[in-house]
């Protein structure tokens, strides 16, 4: 059987537009292949979130399904397999399934609901869907299709050593005589996930001696970035085809094909780089923005953010805004100018000193403002910059890209309504040490981010002589603690046993816990690690807890 893999980028909620995408691929491939496969919940885009709770939305989805059925009439050879929410006949429970529909010759010929509904981290599928009542194989042409919907292939998945699911849909399908696995997915990107995903696919293929086709969504939807990386693995676990990451792609494979090579994992830094660019691009496009503004400080975070923005939407659509205060160094100014030149972006300079003076004058008495620059005055400067950025946004329609990194967000080394201002926090899930790696990657062929920016000691420049390292642990240690704590779930004791300084660990965890309120109000932040701040990490604020 010839199968078309349609790795596409849907817009969440845009049923009509997503049906159009199906139609366009169908018209291109019809008659040439037996089946075209589209990703999970393709009709709505993934994740549709609480749109699924609107009954009008379910009606529009049902209409979209009919449209796909009509489209399928245009070929007697080619079937369409796609993901969509579907109403369950038995109304008990949520009344909806996360479903794969096989449409052929003007009819829905088969329906498989998803069995394993993820409900951890960013996933809330039990909020919307009931699991499948039955798992069946479907005879289509010369194959017996074993259809899995994303997590259905994760039947053996463990969290902290515990199997989280009670059944293994792939095993059930194999026992029922499937000749091929087809997995429609919306599996978001995170560092190293592609190799985990490959292993699960390969293990399923090998365990059941069946070929495995994985068709993944691509594109950015709010914080989630879908890398695509759809693939076809033969029964021995060898790679027949891997589709490119981070872009739409159509491939045709023969279900009986044998693979040759092993899977090549994506380069971690390149992958993050590409992911962030797609994340910016799609957030802007899908929100209707064409231009972005970035506050350039002469530091590495804002420089990297501006670079990524140029890659996402083109240099001519990026405005760099330099807003020096009395504590901004001369070097910062020259670095910003050099960066803007290298990136080919427009640079505007708005000194905030007169505004800062006006605030100080108005608040002098009430806030007992003296000579020294305290936290209040530091934050004030950051917030003036936020206000200026928003004024540019309001006036000209720029999206403000905020520039803070994950390490800062974690410990609260950032100002609410100041540097946290923006519609999208590009580096919100990128630890500072990885910001450096990304900057070096960007510079690997040519110096784009001025070397001086990479080499200088990080500073917020909000008071004289300030340096991040005066109040924070060295970033390599901070990031190490954050990784083990957030991503690996290690306790303070466990980290101390690994040789990290207990006092520093406690200091970091304490700062982390105390700053939940800032993160609650942060912009959407692009997720690239296994545990990002945002919808996948839900902590109380008005609480009292300590860890040991």
């Amino acid at each position: 059987m010839k199968i078309g893999i349609a790795q596409l980028n849907p817009v969440v909620g845009d049923i009509e537009g997503n049906v159009e995408k199906i139609k366009s691929v169908f018209l291109k491939l019809k008659g040439k292949v037996d089946l075209i496969v589209f990703p999970e919940l393709f009709l709505t885009g993934y994740p549709p979130r609480d749109l699924l709770e609107r009954k009008e939305f379910i009606k529009i989805t049902a209409r979209g399904i009919k449209d796909v059925v009509n489209i399928s009439k245009k070929s007697k050879r080619t079937g369409i397999l796609f993901g969509t929410p579907a109403i369950r006949k038995n109304k008990k429970g949520k009344g909806l399934s996360n479903t794969a529909l096989l449409v052929y010759n003007g009819k829905i010929v088969f329906r498989q609901d998803k069995s394993l509904l993820p409900y951890y981290d960013v996933f809330d599928e039990t909020r919307y869907f009931e699991p499948a009542k039955a798992i069946k194989v479907f005879n289509f042409k010369d194959e017996r299709l074993g259809i899995l919907i994303c997590e259905d292939a994760w039947g053996k998945y463990k969290i902290n050593g515990n199997a989280i699911y009670k059944i293994d849909p792939a095993k059930i399908l194999a026992e029922k005589g499937a000749s091929i696995f087809i997995n429609i997915a919306a599996s978001p990107f995170q560092i190293d996930k592609d190799s985990v995903r490959y292993k699960i696919i390969r293990d399923n293929a090998r365990a059941h001696k069946l070929p495995f086709i994985f068709v993944n969504q691509v594109g950015g939807n709010d914080e989630l970035i879908f890398d695509g990386r759809s693939m076809f693995i033969d029964p021995k676990g060898m790679v027949v085809k891997v589709l490119p990451a981070f872009k739409e792609h159509i491939a045709i494979v023969n279900s009986k094909a044998k693979g040759k090579g092993k899977y090549t994992c994506m380069d971690r830094i390149k992958a993050v780089h590409d992911a962030l660019i797609l994340g910016i691009k799609d957030y802007m496009r899908k929100c209707g923005f064409s231009k972005a503004v970035v506050a350039l400080s002469g530091g590495i975070d804002s420089s990297l953010t501006a670079y990524l923005a140029t890659k996402a939407i083109g240099s001519k659509n990026v405005l760099g805004l330099f807003m020096p205060s009395p504590y901004t160094s001369k070097e910062s100014k020259s670095y910003v100018k050099a960066l803007a030149k290298n990136l080919g972006i427009e640079l505007k300079i708005v000194p905030i000193t007169p505004i800062y003076q006006a605030y100080k004058k108005s608040l002098k008495k009430e806030l007992k403002i003296g000579r020294s620059v305290d936290k209040t005055l530091e934050n004030l400067q950051a917030r003036i910059r936020g206000n200026v950025l928003m004024a540019f946004s309001n006036k000209y329609g720029y999206l403000v890209l905020s520039t803070g990194n994950k390490s800062e967000l974690a410990v609260g080394y950032c100002t609410l309504y100041g540097d946290l201002t923006g519609g999208l926090a590009v580096l919100a899930d990128v630890p500072k040490t990885m910001v450096y790696k990304l900057a070096n990657y960007v510079n690997s062929k040519k110096e784009i981010i001025p070397l001086g920016i990479i080499k200088r000691s990080p500073s917020a420049e909000l008071k004289p002589g300030q340096r991040d390292q005066d109040v924070l642990p060295p970033y390599d240690i901070l990031d190490c603690i954050l990784y083990y704590y957030l991503e690996e779930g290690k306790s303070i004791n466990e980290m101390a046993k690994m040789g990290l300084d207990r006092k520093i660990i406690k200091q970091v965890i304490d700062m982390l816990n105390k700053n939940e309120y800032k993160r609650r109000q942060m912009p959407v932040g692009l997720k690239v690690t296994s545990k990002a701040f945002g919808s996948g990490r839900r902590f109380p604020i008005a609480a009292k807890y300590y860890f040991i």
Copy 2:
């Protein structure tokens, strides 16, 4: 059997403190009652959210359980029934249960896990817990206890006419011979919910001819406010005892007692009034704030917010900040002064005009600032105020209470980093029409909020002659649409059929959908309706959807 109902206010995460609360009630009632009942997940407070994913936290919880067991040794008569997360022996799945433990004489004598895990609106229980494997009755003294954990009594609950659960734990317990239902709960407040709750309790009592004890958490935890209103209903559905709302209370009841009266529903407006006060009080206390600042504009929202703050933390702990701009009317100033006087709060005046001028001067060229006040300049003023508020907060440790109402938030008639600045959005779930009702309620005995404030036409006063009604539908119509759309899930068609103007409905829904990005960054907002913006409403931003 004599039963103590302990309607208490735990602090989320504070296992030690919550165990102390159990101890204190136990020492008071031991020997006098046979059983003391504490709310759902009392050991951790509800909702503990992702704290449950930290294994150290589960360890500390396990230690807390041991402490309660030890406390129970101090009386041979009195048992303790309380809620806690508990580890499941079978590690498949989430590995945790939402559990009721009955501790007696230094031993855990019975454990009942929760069967029905809510996973809609603000509830995410399937994210953390596995449902009970078995539902059993426990013989304790002269009763056969049928223990339900909150939602377990909701077995017949329907959403949009569909039963959402497949089993009815109350029925199962009755069939197994329970002689009494004891429901430990953490059921949050929302308008009219107490009567829904009562009906469910009464229907269970009557259907199975059993007395029903409902022990609810009280207190504010982030956006959720728990009203308590614990109660004891006899087998005929008559009320034996109802505990007061919005405060801690201990009551002793006899399991065989017969009720006399019918349940009296809480007054809607008084209930919201009390709920908001508790919400402010607990958010501040549990976050460690003792003082709050409110930006007073002379409008009804900020006046009501300031009043509620004085009720929550006392007049001497509330600072009113009046920040006139060139467009602030004289009336506003006199209203603000009168209000501050009536409330007995300190008032400070910080005119923002000099700061506003400084911004305009600095941005004149870049933003082509002319004579007219456009959206950019309107927002600028709001953001200057946000900045000044935060400076007071940073300097003196005030919590900023933000003042916007639900109607504004819904349609985006508010400024990010401007009037949305703050740690807690007091009126975020209070529609404008209800703001008026609350203000009248406040004034029912005495004019506290100056009548002129209530009577004047609402205006943001960000440009000359501005009035809310120039750009928004009348608030009674707006709120009506928002209610039917958000709370009742009505479609545009359905609302049009009800006689609402289709054009206005579309305008409102369109504004609502377009402003998701603002609400994503709003402060924690106190929930009082069945559908609040915040953790219970999860919509995508980078999306394209329309409703019919």
